[in-house]
Symmetry: C2
Subunit: 321 residues, 2 copies
């Protein structure tokens, strides 16, 4: 048995790889088999993370396993889908049992937290990178796409923004901070929590949705384009964590919230009539702007002045080799 | 718009990425949405190919696009599934429009030949590698797994074996051959044809199946293990191409057929009563052995002597960094 066959067997034995609901056949055959209930569609998304591009190299393998799955599953949350399964293609430069065990522990923790099962993949030798394909199910016609925003809708986000961007100097070792500041920021970076329950609660209510991976401004641009509408963002309304404001100051915290990446918080548009019940039910919905006729994203100051930066978002860490 | 967003848009515009049967939502949102008809299951498989490990580097990007998709789709053939969609995670060291165009042309050609649509993926900068996840559909309960072989079944393959292994010295530039020999071998290596129609024809007939990627001996070992049976292979019955015999000689051709990789021909077990109709219908079914009570794979000479090599298969090109 080859080295990489051993690794495959190692993953096949992981708790998250055991058969369960929706998985008719798991790891070990040419394909896995998934059951998709009648009246539901399959949602699918693929993400690649490359060492030194999307995450620091070296980094803690437990945290990497946790974060990489969370990032992938967040795309299911953005569609309002219920997670079903994932595949993992892992390219490794070395065969380190310690590294693999820690990585698999992190992967398992996030898989169990998200209710998603490992059903296949591939393990190869090469420079460290991971590709995850996640699969979920969503009632036919109820998936949250980017294309249904209507003028008059509210623009909302599902939580505080900018924490992961704020954490980046800590992750890269460029800055330090006291634990009360560093810990919540790093927690958001290393173990973002895909907003699966919120996404499912928004089915039939939100008119568009996505998860913020490239910063609010850049990602709202995707909704504006796909829905052929304009979006106004009120900069004073951005939810910013206490830790982020303490670490960066109010202005830089706002820039991180607008243009930083890796938040994996949902952004969505909502007819105003839907808001009261969602708030009454306790969902974390923050109104940050509104949808208007027109195009593009406009950033407004408290006095209504247009303060849209010339460049919306930037080529963040993930695209800076 | 970043360099890699441009590349994503480039793939989104490819013919194979346009919406079609079974694809409710294609590239461009957080997830794609697939329709799986009632009474069918979803089959899913992931393969990674790394430059310099799984294919020569540099190599012709058109041929790489063609071959990498064929290798992935072959897993659907082995389950008896009908191809539906695939995702592509492409990691590229450079942004070369010429390279991408040629790669996409090869990918498109194979996608159209296999009836499979590109529904998503990711493009990142880094050392060249590809991960493809293929999805197909198969009537519930009719997927061909590795675990149903019964003593008394015939062991069959769907075509000539060893051609891709024979082509390897040509691919690597270690040997040359006249076109009448080189062309059919290289064609098999660079554009293997996934045996989709054969796989579908075997639904409800074959008791087990897989596609041969690691050589007949090694892959039959998977059937023997999963089915808890023994397999006897009669070495004289292996179908060998004229080109392979001319290039390697009879003995080395047989070794290539037994232990070479990358054939992507189906191997399957079949109750004897099923054979006549499959042959009458013109399916390429070659009986190479039989299933017996016991375990493991045994290789028999023409006189019935056990000539099983000590090592079944080898760490072939794909696992030799």
């Amino acid at each position: 048995m080859g080295e990489f066959e051993l690794i495959r067997n190692y993953f096949a034995a992981a708790p998250c790889a055991q058969a369960g609901e929706g998985v008719a056949l798991g790891i070990g055959d040419d394909c896995a088999l998934l059951a998709v209930p009648a009246g539901e569609q399959l949602a699918i998304s693929t993400d690649t993370l490359v060492a030194g591009v999307h995450f620091a190299d070296p980094c803690d393998p437990f945290l990497l396993g946790q974060r990489s799955l969370a990032v992938a599953v967040s795309d299911l949350a953005a569609m309002g889908a219920t997670p079903l399964a994932f595949t993992l293609a892992l390219t490794l430069p070395m065969d380190s049992a310690d590294w693999l065990q820690a990585f698999a522990r992190g992967l398992n923790a996030m898989a169990q937290s998200c209710g998603v099962r490992l059903v296949g993949g591939d393990t190869t030798r090469g420079p460290l990178s991971l590709t995850m394909t996640v699969l979920g199910r969503v009632p036919t016609g109820l998936a949250l796409t980017r294309s249904g925003a209507q003028p008059g809708d509210l623009l909302c986000v599902g939580g505080e923004l900018g924490n992961a961007a704020g954490a980046l100097p800590l992750v890269l070792g460029q800055r330090t901070a006291e634990p009360a500041i560093a810990e919540p920021l790093l927690a958001h970076y290393w173990s973002p929590q895909p907003q699966l329950a919120l996404g499912q609660a928004l089915r039939g209510k939100a008119t568009s949705a996505l998860d913020i991976s490239d910063g609010l401004l850049a990602d709202c641009g995707h909704i504006a384009t796909a829905s052929a509408v304009g979006l106004l963002i009120e900069s004073e309304k951005l939810p910013l964590s206490k830790a982020l404001r303490a670490f960066l100051g109010q202005n830089a915290a706002r820039v991180a919230a607008l243009s930083g990446g890796d938040d994996y918080v949902l952004a969505f548009t909502l007819p105003p009539a839907e808001l009261p019940q969602l708030l009454a039910d306790g969902w974390p919905v923050h109104v940050v702007g509104r949808v208007v006729a027109g195009q593009g994203v406009t950033l407004l100051a408290a006095d209504g002045q247009d303060i849209t930066p010339a460049t919306r978002g930037y080529q963040h860490f993930r695209e800076t080799p």
